[in-house]
């Protein structure tokens, strides 16, 4: 498959942005300045970016508690995100949502979600909108291996087939739901589940942008053509604890280090694109530098930004009340 150079560059930039954003959050969180819960997507960048590289602003995605990567992949700016995570009024949700609720409906980003399994039903609805409003869009639900056991997720698989929705169910399988291994908590297989709900099953290596891009691309193409929903099972690894503060004693020593060493999507992407002569190292270096500065700036801006005004407390509960 031939991928346009601008898609490659854009995708690399997204992955690099996610990585830098997350690694920086890891550091910032340790200082105690970031309130609440933060779940890092580090190591999983190629999944969100590989899927979203097939989408436009017309398409919709719904994310999870581990949402920063999906937001960036769908085009949400890091300034607004960082400010949000810091609880500032310049945040993309004006400081009222925080890490678990970043959303930007104008970009088709229907929100991170603090509820495991919260997104798949919403995505059935977004897909219904695309179908009935005939805007050509598709809707994508990202969810984890853990979330694949939630009733809301399973019901959504059925509903999407029954209604023949342009909906894609992307199972981001990093092998753990919090501290519990998928080998314990997920009975059967995702493949048989897809079949159990009458939809095609695809799988791919989530640390390989190309694998994700092409696999999800096929599922998305089908859905866009009116051929119905599909499941895309993405195999991944989580590089940090479930949330910041988790020591991960449930994982064997060296597991993460090996993943970092061998399955770094950025390293693999750079190697593959430069070796194949698709991109040159200088262009990638340039992106690295630009992203670094951008993330740095987002932290500086966030820290300097004002907190919400008292009056904001009562605003925006309703459109009108």
């Amino acid at each position: 498959m031939q991928i346009a150079r601008d898609i490659l560059l854009r995708s690399y930039r997204s992955m690099r942005t996610i990585r830098d954003f997350e690694e920086r959050l890891h550091v910032e969180f340790a200082t105690g300045e970031i309130p609440g819960f933060v779940h890092l997507y580090c190591g999983e960048e190629a999944s969100g970016v590989g899927v979203c590289a097939n989408l436009t602003d017309t398409d919709t995605i719904a994310s999870t508690h581990r949402g920063h990567g999906h937001c960036i992949a769908k085009g949400v700016g890091v300034d607004g995100m960082m400010a949000e995570i810091y609880g500032r009024s310049t945040g993309v949700c004006r400081g009222k949502g925080g890490s678990m609720h970043i959303a930007d409906l104008s970009l088709g980003m229907l929100g991170a979600n603090g509820i495991v399994g919260g997104g798949p039903p919403l995505i059935c609805g977004a897909a219904l909108s695309h179908k009935l409003l005939k805007d050509g869009g598709v809707a994508v639900a990202f969810y984890g291996d853990g979330a694949s056991n939630e009733g809301s997720t399973l019901e959504s698989l059925n509903l999407a087939t029954v209604w023949q929705l342009p909906a894609i169910f992307v199972v981001e399988d990093n092998g753990y739901g919090e501290a519990t291994g998928a080998s314990y908590a997920v009975a059967g297989t995702q493949k048989a589940r897809a079949e159990g709900f009458g939809m095609p099953y695809y799988e791919c290596d989530g640390t390989d942008f190309f694998s994700v891009y092409e696999t999800a691309g096929e599922a998305i193409r089908r859905a866009r053509a009116g051929e119905g929903p599909a499941m895309v099972h993405v195999h991944l690894s989580r590089w940090y604890g479930h949330f910041e503060g988790d020591s991960m004693s449930y994982r064997i020593d060296g597991e993460v280090a090996r993943e970092r060493a061998e399955r770094d999507c950025l390293v693999n992407f750079r190697r593959r694109t430069t070796e194949a002569g698709l991109l040159d190292a200088a262009a990638l270096d340039e992106i690295d530098a630009a992203v670094k500065a951008e993330v740095e700036q987002s932290v500086i801006s966030a820290k300097a930004a004002p907190t919400p005004e008292d009056a904001d407390l009562l605003k925006d509960v309703y459109v009108a009340y």
Partner: protein, 342 residues
Amino acid sequence: MSKKSFRQAINEALRLEMRRDPRVILMGEDVAGGRGGTSGVTDAWGGVLGVTKGLQTEFGEDRVFDTPISEASYIGAAAGAAATGLRPVAELMFVDFVGCCLDQIMNQAAKFRYMFGGKARTPLVIRAMYGAGFNAAAQHSQALYPLFTHIPGLKVVIPSSPYEAKGLLIEAIRDDDPVIFLENKVMYDDEEDVPDGSYTIPFGEANLTREGDDVTIVAFGRMVNFANEAADRLEKSGISCTVIDPRTTSPLDTGTILDCVADTGRLVIVDESSPRCNLATDVAALVAEEAFDALKAPIRRVVPPHTPVPFSSTLEALYMPNADKIEAAVKSVMSYRMKEEA
């Protein structure tokens, strides 16, 4: 203008709004009924009690369609569709089934706008039947509006008659926030004069169905009828009551309630939901805080006991508030006055 049943009034409201706005769609278990059946009839039921009958015939399968029995997914889908350009009316059948999809209502639809800093708009209506009196037993007879009223981000509507139902449902469909629209299941055959055309009744504006000097009665949904009945009887024994139908519990027309209590000095609240943390306590607390000066007697609540709804007719009748119980409550607050003045 013609006599219409509660059922017809709701059907008409849906029909008129669907004609007016192509984004309005209807979904729910058997809202049409028959898909996948052997006869090929796909509008077999029109809802389990026939409320949405004929709508698929007029608007087609793209706008009126059945769902699998999976409330979390389709109520969530309605929320997601509402946030992305449609204006869904989703039917939950019995409000008791909210236990299967509360998350999508409480943590998703209701909170989008606030969590997202004001950027979302979720024009969603969830219709459901509520109430006892149908021998439907503990899992099909609850009122549950206190749960919805408790949750910021939701609006809650409880129409008390066919006229009210039509106007309030049209308003609900045009509203840009998530609205829970509750229909008392024993009222579907109630009839009254209802205009044929479209009209709206604004949220948060109570209706005074009786005006009087002695006691204010606040009643919800079907209880308004009982309150009117009691008020009419009391009138004959010389006690004059104001009856307030708040129409919506969220927003609640606190101004009208406080004004009426300021006039009458006495308050009886009639609520058929379970008694703890319900609407009766909500209104009582409002008045005990903000119209304390005016109060001449204790605030009485006519509510069911803290039990599930029993099946047997005998027990169910005992369980329910009714005109007799309201009458007795009104008399008790009136006699309190007499005691005081004695």
